[in-house]
């Protein structure tokens, strides 16, 4: 029993790592309607930006998170404006493919500047807290809290602020939004800044638990996609729910499936979800 419970807790902790980049991915998808593969590079860039702030400049991690958010958001906007924006008229798939190429370019810019060697933050690590047979990581708890706060903030921002409403209007119908005096180009920039920035923040959290190198983001790309699809493409709370679900599914499955098949578990979870509830946990219509 405690094994099962521990696996559940582990799932939540693992899922948390995926949740923040999944929010970023979903935010971009919600407004611009294409799956952005460059989020792998954005996560990596965020991890490196925070590394620079934390190790080279000596800033504490919360400040480094802000730096990562700003730097990645900025790079995301620049990348979008230079290499993806003009393709958006050609359909989601073309932009998606271009974003794969963009990811390759950004990953290798990071490699060019920093090399392949792994780096780490200047942050002590804490042992897990124990409650009887169960253990919980305090830092993972903080990450979870951060993910929930970001999710809530994004959700409230989209629902209640003028800008957020405008974003949703563009997401629903760009032409109609334009008629109402909303500038879709400006909305796209803000969306990218938020989406890429949050992915960058997620990259820092991943970098804290893993290592910082040019493939930091790429290694979790499939998991982020899986989380977003499970939760429902384009839904912000869905991204978090999907990430937690994916984490729990993977950790629970380890009790019966060999550990090498973890990625496969995510894939089966997607297939099951799409078969029985094609719009994902909290998503809109998918067919």
């Amino acid at each position: 029993m405690s094994q099962l419970l521990q696996a559940l807790i582990n799932g939540v902790m693992t899922g948390t790592l995926i949740a923040v980049p999944a929010i970023g991915f979903s935010a971009i998808f919600a407004v611009l309607r294409y799956p952005n593969f460059a989020i792998a590079a954005y996560a990596t860039i965020g991890a490196f930006a925070a590394w620079w702030a934390n190790v080279a400049m000596g800033l504490p991690i919360p400040a480094a998170l802000l730096v990562a958010f700003a730097v990645t958001g900025f790079i995301g906007v620049v990348a979008e404006e230079t290499s993806l924006k003009r393709l958006r008229n050609n359909g989601a798939l073309i932009v998606a493919i271009a974003s794969i190429a963009l990811n390759l370019v950004l990953e290798n810019i990071v490699r060019f500047i920093f090399g392949n060697e792994m780096r780490g933050y200047d942050l002590p690590i804490a042992r897990d807290m124990r409650f009887g047979d169960l253990r919980i990581g305090p830092q993972q708890l903080q990450s979870l809290l951060l993910a929930v706060v970001i999710m809530a903030a994004m959700f409230l921002f989209l629902r209640y602020t003028r800008f957020g409403k405008a974003m949703r209007a563009v997401a629903d119908n760009p032409d109609l939004a334009r008629l109402k005096g909303i500038d879709p180009a400006k909305i796209a920039i803000v969306t990218l800044f938020l989406g890429a920035g949050l992915t960058g923040v997620g990259g820092v959290l991943i970098g804290l638990d893993t290592s910082i190198d040019p493939l930091t983001g790429y290694r979790v790309l499939l998991s982020v996609f899986a989380a977003a699809v499970l939760g429902g493409l384009g839904s912000i709370p869905g991204a978090v729910a999907g990430a937690l679900m994916l984490g729990i599914a993977e950790e629970l499955a380890l009790l019966v499936v060999p550990a090498t098949y973890r990625t496969g578990v995510g894939f089966v979870a997607i297939l099951l979800m799409l078969t029985f509830r094609p719009r994902g946990l909290l998503g809109e219509r998918a067919a």
Binding site: G115, M118, D209, I212, L215, S223, T263
Partner: protein, 401 residues
């Protein structure tokens, strides 16, 4: 008849001497065509943390040898390609090195799949291949001598891991590894060594791209191990070590020298990796090759792949000098005459070795990764191991045995 023969002999000898005389200054001036050597290391992809330093080590040796006058009076030219840690790309790069650059030897293939894919091109084109890959199957390929491997095979290495754990009084040893071609045989050899001492072993193969391994570690801890052997590479081993620390594991930690290397030690919090032991192939105590390499490339603890490729370039250059010929076949035939000539003068670098060879001395190279003596199939015959331990954020030599 007899007279005539003698005459002809004298004539020939004289002509040869003349040719030799006229050739020598000419060579020294014109330096002939450069000798081309290729490296095929992972510069991008999963092996990316290792390839760049490996090339750096080869470059340092080549520069040094060129500054000392080259090999056979010819300059050595280094051509580096990226295998992208992918055999499909590796084969394309190897074809270019072999067919376009016409290199004499390719050094440093890392992933076992890349080596297995590239090896046939090498023996078919009579190009020499030196690899650091670990899969036991590699030296069993029909390579006709065109392949040597400086990485100890799993029988040698697995046994050492097992014996080390036993010596450290571990009774329950757990082997934690991603799916590699040598994971299974490594574990079998560890198990053999541990069982012999009355201990128990367990193993888990994990997916190496995951950001957390909490449940994997839980499974490991259910085995109640007093020693864990980490069988992965740097990125996944970093995650594993962190999760083991969080779970409160306080037992013996052992890892490959290439996984827990200087970069890993510097990039994770000190307490995570503290007291971890590493094993790396090594020459006997007192060998200067390792210290020399450290000085040459400015890396305090070069990892095993770097020490190996350093030995490969030294061996290949000396073999060319000894054979008086830069072809792959010449290297194949001569490499064991510089790596393990009986009674040869011990040398630990190519510059000294080339001088000795020029002076017609037999040489026996002892390198930074071991004595570098090869069996007929291309495996290293034996080597000792460097046992290092992470102490206060630094890799500290414990013993060589």
């Amino acid at each position: 008849m007899t007279e005539f023969t003698t005459d002809r002999r004298t004539l020939l000898a004289g002509a040869a001497a003349l040719a030799g005389l006229s050739a020598l200054p000419g060579r020294a001036l014109a330096q002939g065509a450069p000798i081309k050597i290729g490296t095929l290391t992972p510069l991008t992809g999963a092996g990316g943390p290792y390839g760049p330093v490996m090339v750096k080590a080869v470059k340092a040796v080549v520069d040094e040898v060129n500054a000392a006058g080259g090999v056979l009076g010819r300059k050595v030219e280094l051509i580096s390609e990226d295998d992208q840690t992918n055999p499909e790309a590796g084969v394309r790069a190897a074809r270019k090195l072999i067919d376009v650059d016409k290199v004499s030897a390719i050094l440093g293939t890392w992933a076992s799949s890349v080596t297995t894919a590239v090896a046939p091109l090498c023996w078919e084109s009579k190009t020499f291949l030196a690899t650091v890959s670990g899969a036991d199957s590699i030296t069993q390929l029909p390579h006709q001598g065109y392949l040597i491997r400086t990485q100890p095979n799993t029988t040698l290495q697995g046994r050492k891991f097992g014996e080390f754990c036993v010596a450290e009084k571990a009774k329950r040893v757990f082997f934690l590894s991603p799916q590699t071609p040598f994971a299974k045989s490594q574990f079998d050899n560890i198990t053999e060594a541990v069982k012999k001492a009355g201990g128990e072993t367990g193993s888990l193969i994990y997916d190496d791209k995951k950001p957390a391994y909490r449940s994997e570690i839980d499974e490991v801890l259910r085995f109640k191990p007093d020693a864990i052997i980490f069988g992965g590479y740097t990125p996944d081993t970093a995650v594993m070590l962190k999760d083991a620390y969080r779970a409160g594991y306080g037992g013996l930690k052992v890892a490959f020298g290439y996984a827990v290397n200087q970069k890993l030690v510097e990039s994770v919090p000190a307490e995570v990796v503290d007291k971890t032991f590493t094993l790396a192939p090594s020459p006997a105590e007192g060998s200067k090759a390792y210290a020399r390499l450290v000085k040459m490339i400015g890396v305090a603890s070069p990892d095993p792949y770097t020490t190996q490729i350093y030995d490969q370039i030294n061996l290949v250059l000396m073999a060319i000098a000894l054979a008086g010929d830069a072809s792959g076949t010449a290297i194949k035939d001569a490499v064991r005459k510089v790596s393990q000539a009986p009674g040869g003068a011990k040398v630990d670098n190519a510059v000294d070795g080339l001088k000795a060879i020029a002076a017609k001395q037999a040489v026996d190279y002892d390198g930074a990764s071991g004595p570098c003596d090869f069996t007929e199939t291309g495996d290293i015959a034996d080597c000792q191991f460097r046992y290092e331990q992470v102490q206060g954020g630094k890799l500290t030599l414990v013993k060589i045995a």
